[in-house]
Symmetry: C2
Subunit: 383 residues, 2 copies
């Protein structure tokens, strides 16, 4: 059987840990094409990517990936379960047979656990703090061991999506090395640091970051305008100052009247100085930092419940780049795929199916300076 | 009969020409109180004021004014006729008996002309370029002489408002001196230059501006963060990038599908670099620069047709500052006035009647740094 490998990721930025993961894949399947499902310019945790999707796609293509698919914003900026679902869905559409992912406990049998945990989701209709805790408790009860680390939870979500989609993808958890997600300081002992540690170093203008990323990433990080929530805070603040609570109700994810609190804190100068102090002032038990960050992204981009419902009723696939091998995968996938696969953005798509991603691209472009969608052909490598 | 003098103005900034006008008033009515109806932080031509309303109010109070009333944003950011109407209405509510204003032709009998021109307005329901031209033609026909200079036209609008409101205010046109509205270069010969010439000098960081403004204005212009459309352009652009044409239809003044053009030009990087290049790209025969600037202000602040309709059905008066003499005028006016007179902004007003001005203040504050409405008592002088 011809294998096609998949990875679901954000590459924010693409670093040596990601490269290590690709090399693990290549060791096991030296000739199989590698498909990446990657978030675009806004990420799962509700923050802008540090550099744009085109540079991140090119970085992984230069380091062994064959086909890079963008997770549409409305699929990417979502709680872990939904993000995982669209990631697996995207890979399945591309004919992926084997999914690799990092896990704190690579020894878990994720498919086995997924069978036991499959019906849990849906009992909790809000993604607040107590939901996360309750969810972990119920999962632990059902599967018989604690699943409470971020990558393990994501792994379980992939497995559940795999079941639901009847995708029959083989899962390959890889034990995470040297750096865990919560590291802040760069790890001087090795060449692997977490993405958040690398971003932190960049924001402190610490040049040490170079030893933790492949050459092309280092180049991009030096040449590109790095983007963070600080760049968008004033725009989000303006949106909050100029729209009524009633208008903001239609923003995707708005619930329990939290918009009143979002507006009130944006009006108070002691909290409204930057994104971080604002979000900490808004935060409460039911709205965690991450849930609010996602909501802030949806508010910044003015994305409504209707927009997301319309995406969910007709999801699509977006190509960011490919190698020759990746092109063949794409070619094959197009034969069987019932959903739109967008390679070049036309005026019709800009105004139609892709309008929210186009919008997000324009907002991101206003800071980073690079055109994001129209007139942007996929990145092609000649390997 | 006790006289109360009124002036309708923007003081952007308060300069020697304005001081000269106040001295003309004082020469004729040395003891009469002087009431100013002044735009707030956004002005008639759809631009932000160079310094905030509180500083501008204090400047004129320090130079002979007795009571400063703010024209609410929805009264100020309007075509000349409507701006003039609310200006006269405000002064009439304060018991003003005599209105002074600059005119290119002080010899015109404005009340006489107003009687002849009173029914003209309303025949043209859009404020496009051809409207302005047609309006001037019809006025010329009706009154028997050309009225085509900006201050003469404003004078005629005051006179028409005076008639409509049956306010019985005496009009005192003053011949404009030394500088006309369209001057760009500072006039080295004298101490009077137009407000636009002074702003131009400030933006070029030309220190010569000091000889054209009273001491307090010079101090404010040196100490305050000067504000211009450049400060708001990126926020307006974000609003245009993230809202659909259908949503923008509800913005006050939106007509003829111009929002499609506003959005399209904000998406195109060759025009979207700054406010001026964007507005010049959007401009057409039916939407002049000034009409678009007002529309841009309404879009930036997300003010709807409903907001303006609700203001018009229940207008209000706002006090920015007073001298002892002005306080007496205010005290007297409160006895007869049927409309809300707001002196200190409470939480109720912030969320209710004053919500749009509060919003505009918060947006302006995000740039200038000074709290604008809540916790801001009127400026009081001890004269």
């Amino acid at each position: 059987m011809q294998r096609t490998i998949g990875i679901i990721t954000e590459y924010n930025p693409f670093h040596n840990g990601h490269l290590y993961q690709i090399r693990q894949v290549k060791k096991q399947f030296p000739n199989a094409p590698l498909v990446i499902a990657m978030s675009g310019n806004f990420l799962q945790r509700g923050e802008p990517a540090i550099i744009d999707k085109w540079h991140r796609a090119a970085e992984c293509l230069a380091n062994g990936a064959d086909l890079v698919m963008e997770l549409p914003l409305m699929a990417a900026v979502q709680p872990a379960d939904r993000f995982a679902y669209y990631g697996v869905w995207t890979l399945a559409q591309m004919g992926v047979t084997d999914l690799f992912f990092g896990a704190e406990h690579a020894e878990f049998d994720f498919m086995h656990d997924a069978h036991k945990a499959i019906e849990i989701i849906g009992n909790f209709n809000q993604y607040h703090e107590s939901f996360a805790k309750t969810y972990q408790q119920v999962v632990t009860e059902k599967v018989g061991h604690p699943v409470d680390q971020p990558n393990d939870l994501l792994g379980l979500a992939y497995a559940k999506a795999n079941l639901k989609l009847k995708a029959g993808i083989n899962l390959h958890p890889i034990q995470r090395k040297n750096a865990n997600y919560h590291d802040i300081e760069l790890n001087d002992a090795g060449t692997i640091a977490s993405a958040s540690a690398i971003r932190e170093a960049l924001h402190r203008q610490n040049q040490d970051f170079e030893k933790f990323v492949p050459q092309q990433t280092a180049h991009d990080l030096k040449m590109q305008r790095l983007v963070s929530w600080n760049d968008f805070w004033m725009h989000l603040k303006m949106e909050l100052l100029t729209h009524s609570a009633q208008e903001l109700e239609k923003i995707y994810g708005m619930a329990e009247g939290i918009q009143y609190r979002m507006i009130a804190m944006a009006q108070r100068s002691e909290f409204a100085g930057n994104f971080d102090s604002w979000i900490k002032a808004v935060k409460n038990k039911r709205f965690t930092y991450t849930r609010l960050s996602r909501l802030a992204t949806m508010t910044l981009l003015h994305i409504s419940w209707d927009d997301v419902a319309s995406f969910e009723s007709r999801p699509y696939l977006r190509v960011l780049g490919f190698s020759k091998k990746g092109q063949a995968v794409l070619h094959e996938a197009k034969k069987n795929c019932d959903y739109p696969i967008i390679t070049n953005v036309s005026q019709d798509e800009k105004k139609g199916i892709l309008r929210i991603d186009y919008r997000a691209g324009k907002v991101y472009q206003a800071v980073c300076g690079n055109e994001q969608d129209l007139k942007h052909a996929p990145v092609m490598t000649v390997k």
